[in-house]
């Protein structure tokens, strides 16, 4: 298997699906001639032509709305938001149109909206957000957030083939920092959680970039720490979450997103409701405080969940 970066794996998935299924097209700001702000679609317009690699105006509502229409008439559009933050401009089309069309008209809307998300590079408040919880709260939309190159490729493939609107969160911090072996050809990764590391003393639940932070934070702890990579937030793998909690009885949930009503809040509620008699300590969370992500590098580092904060929380729970 070839080793690929997280970004190359996403590119690979898109290219493979466009080669095997002519209904698949990509659209977004600068995805064509420029190859995308992060170069995910570099070389695509040369291979697939301007009809299937569409440069759009700076109008996210138009991008998503056009994609919904194309999907309804049989295409499989993959939209790129240049930054996840900008999806707010396409909110109405995504939440009220894409998410509800199946329920209102019985029509499938097989679109994928790719969201380059996350902070850690001084992008400031408009280029660093983790907006996944907005979509978890809106029925009719699936929400995926891979942490490894292999899962990024397999989940994007699964997203493109899924008949529902799928929001696909690709963490910018992982784009070129994470590299791993990726199977050749096409394959789908199931929309379920993955045990990133087995353990019996404590479960750390995370997704996206925080999986790597959790692994690093717990690598040298003198205890068996299980790290559960959610991979999919909608659908949420309740079975895997409850099984891990039953095993370890202690849970730390890590969100890079702002703490209130984040994905981890839903996971915490799930555990409190269904695993109360398994718990041997409080459900703990580490997340970003409820502030916009600061531009200042020291301030940003203070806001985002750090490896140290995660490690301290783990030690605290292990000692409890």
């Amino acid at each position: 298997m070839p080793a690929m970066t997280y970004l190359e794996a996403i590119s690979d998935a898109l290219r493979e699906e466009m080669r095997t299924d002519e209904r698949v097209l990509v659209m977004g700001e600068d995805v064509g001639a420029f190859g995308g702000a992060f170069k995910v679609t570099d070389g695509f317009v040369e291979e697939f032509g301007e009809e299937r690699v569409i440069d759009t105006p700076l109008a996210e509502a138009a991008i998503v709305g056009t994609a919904v229409g194309a999907a309804v008439v049989g295409m499989r559009p993959v939209c790129e938001m240049q930054f996840a933050d900008f999806v707010a401009c396409g909110f109405d089309q995504l939440i009220n149109v894409a998410g509800k069309t199946h329920y209102r008209f019985g029509l499938a809307v097989p679109i994928v909206v790719r969201l380059p998300s996350g902070g850690g590079f001084s992008g400031g408040p408009f280029h660093s957000q983790n907006p996944e919880a907005w979509f978890m709260h809106a029925p009719g939309i699936k929400v995926l957030a891979p942490s490894t190159p292999e899962d990024a490729k397999g989940l994007l493939t699964a997203a493109i083939r899924d008949p529902n609107p799928v929001v696909f969160l690709e963490h910018k911090h992982l784009y070129r920092r994470v590299k791993g072996e990726v199977p050749e050809g096409t394959y789908e990764t199931p929309m379920t959680a993955r045990v990133a590391r087995e353990g019996t003393d404590l479960t750390v639940i995370a997704y996206g970039a925080m999986v790597h932070a959790a692994l690093e934070a717990t690598d040298d702890l003198d205890a068996g720490v299980e790290v559960l990579d959610l991979r999919s937030l909608v659908p949420l793998d309740t079975e895997a979450i409850l099984a891990s909690v039953a095993k370890t009885s202690k849970v730390l949930i890590v969100d890079e997103a702002n703490e209130t009503c984040a994905a981890g809040a839903q996971v915490a509620a799930l555990i409190a409701e269904h695993a109360f008699e398994q718990l041997d300590g409080p459900i703990r969370r580490v997340a970003s405080p409820d502030v916009p992500i600061p531009f200042s590098p020291p301030l940003e580092q203070a806001v985002l969940p750090s490896v140290d904060r995660i490690r301290d929380a783990c030690r605290d729970l292990l000692d409890y």
């Binding site: 109360f276 041997d280 000692d319």
Partner: protein
């Protein structure tokens, strides 16, 4: 300012139950010189099988212990003396001008009893595991923060008894019998030496009882164990055979109008205790079932009072829950009989059908056993009582 030699308070052996006349000091929890608060336990006192904490009647300093550990004294005897709070107590003599500050220092330097567990809150998983495995959390040493009992501590406590169950028991260090075992032993030995114990058995068809219990007929008794049903039937039979609801103390034989029913409760390896349901003859099967459960629960938590284990007039024991078929129970002195309920098992038995033909049927059968004191009664009375009990059980629900 009151004199330094301020008043002392006596701690006396209390009347721990109507029938209790004496008690044995097991252990002093405080030593002379220790400060005690009002109602703080001073020592443990044993009356037969019940251990009770004796609370301090007042705040102060334990000045003097008058009854040593192991000594048995009558109710009303002074066990110890307290000096009132703030007074000199045992100290050799107050220094002139010594003030509250100095006595405050003395309090601080006196050794405090070691804290067992800082946290009395048990997490959900700890509570659940303890309940599932019958672990007494008070006996589990916590390794969590501030001594909190953690999941792994309960699991370790569950594991531990398994090791002592291993066949290599010879490796266990020899030790003296527990206080409870000695008390049971003395009681049983005394009974066998006192009574002319005989045991009579009778087979009994439990089809009707089992049908009611297992819901073949609509009944509020669905799911109860056979014990309260048999106890109820036995008390009904005692009404017709009152010679068995009696006590024999020396040559003094007394029949009782009320049935105070003793029910043997196993405490596992620790031993056995026989709490008494007072006026059990007034209770329904359901009420007897609840009373048995409640007494057993409190017995296992060592919460019974001495009055709750004395004064019985008739006793039932139920080892059949473990599968045994017959036993020769020892009479609970000074009673004259004890009823033994053994396992209910399916047997092929011969019965006569409505047309007078002998047929073989599969029926739940049990063997009712009665140990009785030949000094007080004869075999005929025992057999008549068992026959009456059997008739009631075989016609249960009519």
């Amino acid at each position: 300012m009151p004199a330094e030699t301020s008043s002392t308070t006596d701690v006396v052996m209390p009347q721990l139950g109507v029938s209790v006349v004496e008690g044995t000091v097991i252990r002093w929890l405080k030593q002379p010189g220790d400060r005690v608060d009002a109602d703080e336990p001073l020592c443990e006192v044993d009356t037969d099988k019940i251990v009770t904490d004796i609370p301090s009647p007042a705040a102060g300093t334990l000045a003097e212990i008058l009854v040593n550990e192991g000594e048995t004294v009558e109710v009303g005897v002074v066990l110890a003396r307290l000096s009132a709070a703030g007074s000199a107590g045992l100290r050799a003599g107050p220094v002139a001008g010594e003030d509250d500050f100095a006595s405050g220092v003395a309090e601080i330097v006196s050794p405090a009893p070691p804290a067992r567990s800082a946290s009395l809150y048990f997490s959900p998983v700890v509570s659940r595991l303890a309940a599932e495995h019958g672990v007494d959390l008070a006996s589990v040493i916590g390794t969590g923060r501030d001594g909190r009992v953690r999941k792994q501590d309960v699991l370790a406590a569950v594991e531990r008894p398994l090791h002592t169950e291993s066949p290599y028991r010879a490796e266990e260090p020899a030790g003296q019998l527990s206080r409870m075992r000695r008390a049971i032993g003395a009681h049983m030995k005394r009974s066998l030496e006192t009574a002319a114990t005989c045991t009579t058995w009778m087979e009994c068809d439990m089809s009707r009882v089992e049908a009611v219990r297992r819901g073949a007929k609509a009944s509020s008794l669905l799911g109860v164990t056979p014990l309260p049903i048999v106890a109820r039937a036995a008390m009904d039979a005692l009404r017709d055979h009152p010679s068995l609801n009696a006590t024999l103390d020396g040559e003094r034989y007394t029949r009782h109008e009320a049935v105070h029913l003793g029910v043997a409760v196993s405490l596992g390896e620790d031993g056995l205790i026989v709490p008494v349901i007072r006026d059990a003859h007034l209770l329904s099967v359901e009420q007897i079932g609840i009373a048995i459960r409640e007494l057993a629960r409190r017995a296992r938590k060592q919460q019974l009072t001495p009055d709750e284990v004395g004064g019985g007039t008739f006793t039932v024991t139920n080892p059949g829950q473990f599968g045994s078929l017959m036993a020769t129970p020892v009479i609970n002195q000074p009673q004259v009989a004890i009823l033994d309920l053994e396992a209910v098992v399916k047997r092929a038995i011969v019965i006569e059908d409505d047309d007078g033909n002998d047929v073989i049927e599969i029926r739940p059968q049990t063997i009712l056993g009665l140990s009785w004191d030949h000094r007080a009664l004869d075999g005929a009375q025992a057999a008549q009582f068992l026959g009456a009990l059997r008739r009631r059980l075989e016609r249960w629900g009519d």
